[in-house]
């Protein structure tokens, strides 16, 4: 595997992951109604960090292979959607507005998983934890949106100058 290529893909995943540090959980998130099966807070950074390494590895394995164009397009789509979700949910508090982003992310990750599997077994396997985790995240987003129907969005552009 080309290590420089891996590092560029890792840069993309850590860019998306930076949203977790920039838009942290806090009193607002803690106070939201959440389903009983909500994963504990400490599990999120562990899962995301693992996933980011795994999919950077998958991208670096598949990118040089012939016929990787759909895999690369889905790889790019999933990382853009991944970077967008956190600011919308935690930054804008748009619990329902984050749902179509999560739905798009699920489709992009499913597409990436399938197209990586088609080219390389290990790359496909590296996407599986992501697909599982994003399924859980989507269910959590949907449940939190339902359990907090009166949550008002934040509008940063209108907050005191």
């Amino acid at each position: 595997m080309d290590f420089v290529l891996f590092l560029i893909f890792l840069g993309a995943t850590f860019t998306a992951g930076a949203t977790g540090a920039l838009f942290p959980t806090g009193p607002w998130y803690q106070a939201l109604n959440k389903p009983s099966w909500t994963p504990p807070n400490w599990l999120f950074p562990i899962m995301w960090t693992s996933i980011y390494f795994l999919i950077a590895f998958a991208g670096a394995r598949v990118a040089p292979l012939e016929g990787s164009h759909y895999a690369m397009a889905f790889w790019a789509l999933q990382i853009a959607l991944n970077a967008l979700w956190t600011p919308v949910f935690f930054g804008l508090r748009r619990l329902r507005g984050a749902l179509p982003i999560m739905a798009g992310l699920w489709v992009a990750v499913a597409g990436a998983t399938a197209t990586h599997f088609a080219l390389d077994l290990w790359a496909g396997l590296a996407f599986v934890p992501y697909l599982v985790w994003v399924t859980i995240a989507a269910a959590l987003n949907l449940s939190v949106a339902r359990l907090n129907p009166n949550q008002q969005p934040l509008e940063p552009s209108k907050i005191g100058i």
Copy 2:
């Protein structure tokens, strides 16, 4: 050109572009001190929309070519950084914190431009407006950060529950 492939790349660019609608300019941005050469507000969506179509076209042209792995890695990196910048600048009001993201974006776009040119003339040319615009955007970010040294960041996680 594979039109479905183009649409997947376009989905990635429009995901990054959605940050412009989700984190709009408003009274806060209007009130910031800005350099005299700041482009007018109406130019930004025109430039970004054009750039998003152009780089989706570039990605779809280059992805199926042999040896496109670095081009695809830079393509993914630039779209993740592009999606991150707006929430950090407009959502968190981190004028200085947005600078390393902008610097990374500039490097990623420069890398994408060079690697696309190496494979396909039209794809390389399609990245040129992006490289020019992100250079202007970086200069504007730097200037705005210098002209508003006392701007305090927003911390959405700590705003009233």
